[in-house]
Symmetry: D2
């Protein structure tokens, strides 16, 4: 077995999700590479140690530069707030490390371009954690589309609805709340949630030509955890946009953290000439599929319980009828990354793929300001 | 147009449902016969008049014998409590009237046999109001089964769950509450609700060989509306039974009025070698269908919105996607009855068909007492 | 009983739905007024006679001007293509008739203004058939919002999805297909489907300040039934728009006839500070309700089967658990119209209310052309 | 950290599920004990080694007696076919090992009694893997019932439906198919699937007084994998039974492997005086809850997405809205077992608890033969 020695930076929600994936992948998938939890890195030494102990990392670092400098690290996993992605990733690329970076790729397109340039110059394997591509039902959707089952696509609609920031008493900034702080996050729901919707959409339905957006910040001021002062809220609480894809289909996208009743309701629907598809993160193990070629007498939306061995990834898990959950999408992503290493066909989304999502996000935010349609910049 | 002059006895829930059906059928279906609301009959003259005015009956009677004796009545519709069915039906048959009788046919099998003998001797068209056969989704189920799509049947399961008699303060007997009075109703959920389940089952899956039942009366005593006294409750509040069909399939049936959350949840499911079917009265316009012959990758339960023009009865109503409701099953039953008159192929369930349901009900009640399997008597 | 003598113009889908409502309302509701089907009017005499016979109209006319001139007509019901609404309505108002007009009110705002002026000058009772307000679940939504249960509203989203015009072989124009002919319909999905969504939205959530739309015509040319020639298609096949309501909430609206799997899927969702609501025309008898004030341990979306006697309109129908269908919304609208006559408090949507919907539609179509945000004109 | 050194016997589906649980529990739960994968045991040395390598077991054994004899094993986990449970468990108890045994406890009640006697005599911690108790939604159901929210219970109904043995070509016996071989399994769906339903039922609703069952073997003969000959099938393919609980509630139970469309559809519903509960293994992260005390206007079944931090076990996983899957029930069971060790309050189901399930299973199979009601033996 070849060792894939991982150095992980960050110990939050994503740090846990990735560590779990590295630990599990070898139990369920067969590869030449074995993941080794080599080092965990966090500024707070006590937290780093605690995290390392819990997850079985063999060492700790408190300075990410030292982590990157180590010879015994093959892969750097970046699980820190968005404003730190670029600096770390570029340094890691220079150090010749493989890089797995949390989404969104960067604070903005220019920063993203530098990151892409860095990994491509260094020729290091790289990937961004847009994990929802690897939910089996979503991968199945991709497969059905690629087989041409839907025919010409007319419509795409996606939503990502949450309700956790409705209270005006919630502060911004600091651990767990950096997503409300524009300096750390870059944007609100656009980079956090719509970025997921856009990544899936580009993968399933191709490039987006132009967008027309509106954003809103319902709570204008919140106390800042780090400064202790009430400060202006710089992020978008909600964002909706119209879009036109290159293939001629029309789209609506919407995200908010002010939708009571929805904890993490990412949904998408695609309407094609022959068939339609619907998926929903709250029941992520199901795919809804309507095929107009079914006999009209018994035509209906099929609720596919994606747990059979011939459905994507499912032969690696339990038996038909038994569902997997959220965390498994990360295991699949690690598996595909390793398979990319071993086959020489890198799995997406690479930094370059994720830059395209960044470009759409930037066009969305630009349109929300300009109040007009904005073209999406071509990736280059 | 030939006139079909109707004399209706009773003015309760079913009196309304039937009157509505007679009034509507000609607007949506084309026949040589036209329903004429000739006379409404009820013991209370004021109520009879009020009912007749509201529904457009041209005359009233307060004695059903007089109604039956009238020359200008072609069809007698019996919508009174169960204990009155036999006497009226037998007299009406002797008078040469067509008869539509509310379900269940009779208080018990012997009474039912006399009713069948009467209508068959008199050769009068006859039918029992097991209306759920004519919900389009249920009719579609019948069609799919008859086409052989399910293959050999392994399992049948039906339930009819309500929750309206949980309060111990509810009295028994009198208008609206005669269903709790064993003298008027004959039995509780068995004759009221399971009779529906059994009628559908016999129609869809053939005869039942034997049954094994348990019943329960949760509230043992209730005040009687007519006597003003607290009296023993003679009906079954709940009944569940195992059954074996003649075709070798196994079944479970259950009904209760003590299931919180279910107002009128009649459901059935059939599992065959190749396909399964599920239906639910709370969403009566849908049929759930699973076809194992679908490609496994996209196999799932199909939720069929039964509102297309090629689905049973639906070409008579609105446009695809627009649902009809409970009352339409009665309109369809009138339509099929008239079609039976015009084609000479009587539509079911006839009195004879309904006698078979009665025989199953009697075997169920007998088994609940004997605590053993009981054979269902052969209809004759 | 006072007679409400109805003269109905048109014999299509809506002519049937309205006639059914007039016939049924007196069976289920108690009023001083009785609907009398006095005359049916259609250009084709044979069709008019056939329609009158089927529905029980006492006479026929082939020229709507004659119908309006008759003394024995109290109410004119306009069920003809959109391009005829204004002329007939203005003439009927001048003749002092009450007017029920199919939706949308008019071809455009200027025409609509004239119609409003005509009925207000003539002081005749008037109403537009935006029937979905009277689906009990929708009326319940209105009640919950008016009680303040949702609190401040953040988001509104509505869709109306169909799939019946995907085939390029479908012609435009003529009976049943006039909705594809811009000269008869004025617009495509905007006036036909989004108008329903907008009417409900204005009723539930107040006025719309501005909109930003895109439209598409997927099939650019279709054979015209009337000319026999292939002609340019002038209607919008699909339309999506962003909106801001006066109350500060954000909205997305979308409609298309190119969404496989959806026959008539009108849905709306409203997210408020405390609670959210979702409704769906394909299961119109249910309302989904989420109340954040429920204890968190057992908090969830409630699927309310709107069939209890204390829920809107339902005490007039059957018993709890038994659903009504599409057609009943029209019965309720007639009932409310009559109640308005008898109480002196006219029920909406009046012509004036419907003009506001027209103004939103016009802003939407204008925005689709201008490619920018457009303010909605103030009603006056 | 104290070490909990595990010796696992068997390497099949359950061997994987348990190993995964031991590996994960420490990442998500905090205990003084740390699970150590000390030894994996299987007759086939190559398979044992492969399994040990994949899951990280530090050693292998090919004879379970040797495993039990080892001093460095604290806990023996029995994941082999049912016919081997008793011998191994009794030997392990004598050796003073803690025991986790796969369900059902034993081939029959007498065997089970010996196992209970053995562990109680040896005073070793013991548990049976009825994992569904630890699906968070099921645990939540238990909590709601224990709080008295349902009030007096009227009805319990459970089903476990599969469809994997419909083909007559499927052989019996051998790896993966021992569940079809009565010598290895003891019974068919009764011990395999209904045992789960019964365990949950006894836990949620107390003891069962008597049962009345029917069973069926649809395919009478199948080729035996081990002998190569066509042999009589000794197991029950399907089983349904009526039951009465000690608390007066009525129940129906049903299981089959001949229900097309259901891979592993374990469902249960409980109807109480005030509230009802429904759960479904195909969407295991949801609990359906109906509370009649809700205001009638907005009363409905609540679909609770059990993923909030205050719902059972969920504070250990991700964030609200993100579902866990089947495998997590095993992690929870290990966590509760360890907590039982540390608090001195053993978690159930112990061998003694599981014996009660065995007694119900035996009464069911006895009733299916006797064709009468059979009392459930009292545990002792």
């Amino acid at each position: 077995m070849k060792k894939l020695r991982i150095g992980l930076i960050g110990y939050g929600f994503m740090g846990r999700a990735h560590s779990n994936a590295y630990r599990k992948v070898g139990n369920f998938f067969d590869f030449e590479h074995e993941c080794v939890l080599q080092a965990a890195c966090a500024r707070d030494a006590a937290k780093a140690k605690d995290f390392a102990r819990r997850w079985g990392y063999q060492s700790v670092e408190t300075d990410w530069r030292k982590l990157i400098a180590r010879d015994d690290i093959d892969l750097v996993d970046i699980c820190v707030p968005n404003n730190l992605h670029a600096e770390i990733a570029i340094a890691a690329a220079k150090a010749g490390k493989m890089i797995l970076c949390e989404k969104p790729l960067s604070m903005n397109t220019p920063e993203g371009r530098k990151m892409v340039a860095a990994v491509e110059r260094a020729k290091v394997p790289n990937m961004v954690w847009y994990n929802y591509r690897r939910v089996p039902a979503v991968t199945l959707a991709k497969q059905l589309i690629d087989e041409g089952r839907l025919g010409k696509i007319f419509h795409y609609r996606a939503k990502f609805l949450q309700d956790w920031t409705i209270s005006a008493d919630l502060p911004q900034g600091g651990a767990g709340l950096w997503r409300l702080d524009v300096k750390a996050a870059g944007s609100g729901v656009t980079g956090d949630l719509l970025a997921h919707c856009i990544d899936t959409a580009l993968w399933l339905n191709g490039g987006i030509e132009k967008v027309n957006a509106m954003t809103e910040t319902f709570i204008k001021q919140r106390k800042h955890t780090l400064t202790g002062k009430v400060e202006k809220v710089g992020i978008d609480d909600a964002c909706a946009f119209l879009a036109r894809f290159n293939n001629g289909s029309l789209a609506t996208f919407e995200s908010t953290r002010y939708a009571r009743g929805h904890k993490a309701l990412y949904t998408f629907e695609i309407n094609g000439e022959h068939a339609s598809i619907f998926w929903d993160l709250h029941d992520l193990h199901r795919l809804q599929y309507f095929d107009h070629r079914d006999q009209s007498l018994v035509r209906g939306w099929r609720s596919i319980h994606v747990s059979d061995g011939d459905q994507p990834y499912m032969n690696h898990w339990w038996v038909p009828g038994l569902q997997i959950g959220y965390e498994h999408s990360f295991v699949h992503q690690v598996a595909d990354f390793i398979q990319g290493l071993e086959t020489g066909k890198p799995a997406g989304p690479t930094f370059r793929d994720a830059l395209e999502t960044q470009q759409v996000c930037d066009a969305v935010l630009k349109s929300a300001k300009s109040q007009r349609w904005e073209k999406v910049a071509r990736a280059k």
